[in-house]
Symmetry: C2
Subunit: 256 residues, 2 copies
């Protein structure tokens, strides 16, 4: 039994049995980094704690989990397969590669824009020259991409919305605009995390779960508890729907 | 003896005796983050490993060490006092606050530019609107500031130069331009770290030590060994010069 647990943690044997056994969950986590030149980049504030915790919680419920992560300082959650990426474009490619999936949870803080012309050499300060101006271009929208109708759309697509004002209204509009099933919204302003300081450096998170049925306001909880609750809600929803699991990679091959 | 060591590590008693006993070293490390809005920022690639290792090595030689660090995932080096900052302006203020010092080692990757008008709310993508353009303004130059002649100039000011082309020539010019005593130069291009991959994620570093006397090419070494060698060279130089240590904070007060 101990050996089986060790094997499971090392990814050498199938996930633990649980309500998500036989399901494949795709989770994104962390920030993306968009290079300006070889030494500088634009980043989003995200520790990756919430996304990594969700990946771990889904694995504990029996799911096979692919975690596509931007740069973080975190250890790989036990029982997950981690794909490391840097930019938003790389993250989209890794997500598409990971399909099909039954569940997609897009917790990464993906850069909306990338630098149009990153420099191949370090940009130098020139005496008397004006500072550079950074021209930006839109990045692909990973959440909208995964939520778009099609044969590979996961049965449940969950997005995140980090807002600093009109949190629930902005996030509800985002749910409709992106075509995802649920949005987990949080207030990332200095005052927005139940008085616990900005969520980025905090172990706690104060979220609103926005679905087609309405808005649930969750109390301030540790990110681990938010992950555990969310994974349980995902499992309950998929069990209710009794949706057929997506084909495993082997089946996918035989269907091709 | 064990208790004394524990106290030393906890900063509860004076530093270990050594060739730098009685000296105060100021070390900067890590990147700076320059906010674009509450969720986005411009960063420099830097793990902080080299700067933190230098701070630890100077403390082991007996120096009182103030480590001014940008955001990193690293533990505080034993025996140092760590001041955490985010932006280049905050780093400069913390360095000025830490003076006087006998030694300044500027290993941080400080942003040359900051965002001229950071947004107080999250900048939203608007359908059909063009991407934003980021206007940048120059940041203060911390190395040039510490190296400028004056009563508080440390006896030895050491800068770093991360270059992607003409490494030694660019770094030698930087030494003269900034007015510092030594420059530690490294090649941060993909091919520049002795074939070990870009230096940012590597435990190794391949540096050139540039002084008024010339250029020393060090072999590829672990960042810890680079730190140990550099601390030893700093101690030897200060002993040779037999410069008087800078006043301690208590003395500073009594002289005011």
């Amino acid at each position: 039994e101990i050996l089986a647990a060790i094997k499971r943690v090392l990814g050498l044997s199938p996930a633990a049995p649980g309500p998500l056994s036989g399901r494949h969950a795709l989770v994104t986590s962390g920030p993306t980094h968009e290079p300006i030149d070889p030494v500088r980049y634009i980043a989003n504030r995200s520790s990756g704690h919430q996304g990594h915790a969700i990946a771990g919680a889904l694995a504990r419920l029996g799911a096979r989990v692919t975690l596509v992560s931007g740069p973080t300082a975190l250890a790989d959650p036990p029982g997950t397969t981690v794909v490391r990426v840097t930019t938003a474009r790389e993250m989209l490619a890794a997500c598409q590669q990971a399909l099909p999936a039954d569940i997609a949870v897009c917790a990464a803080a993906v850069a909306d824009w990338t630098v149009t012309h990153p420099a191949t050499h370090k940009t130098k300060k020139a005496a008397g020259a004006p500072p550079p101006v950074l021209a930006l271009s839109p990045n692909p929208d990973i959440l909208a991409n995964l939520a778009a109708a099609g044969p590979q759309r996961p049965a449940l697509v969950v997005g995140f919305a980090a807002e600093t004002e009109e949190v629930v209204a902005q996030a509800s509009a985002k749910r409709l605009r992106k075509g995802c099933d649920w949005i987990i919204a949080n207030d990332v302003s200095e005052a927005g995390n139940g008085g616990r300081g900005t969520v980025f450096a905090s172990p706690d998170n104060t979220v609103h779960v926005i679905t087609a049925e309405g808005v649930e306001d969750w109390p301030t909880l540790s990110k681990d508890v938010v992950a555990h609750r969310l994974a349980g809600r995902i499992a309950a929803t998929l069990t209710d729907r009794a949706a057929a699991p997506c084909p495993s990679p082997a089946q996918k091959g035989s269907l091709a």
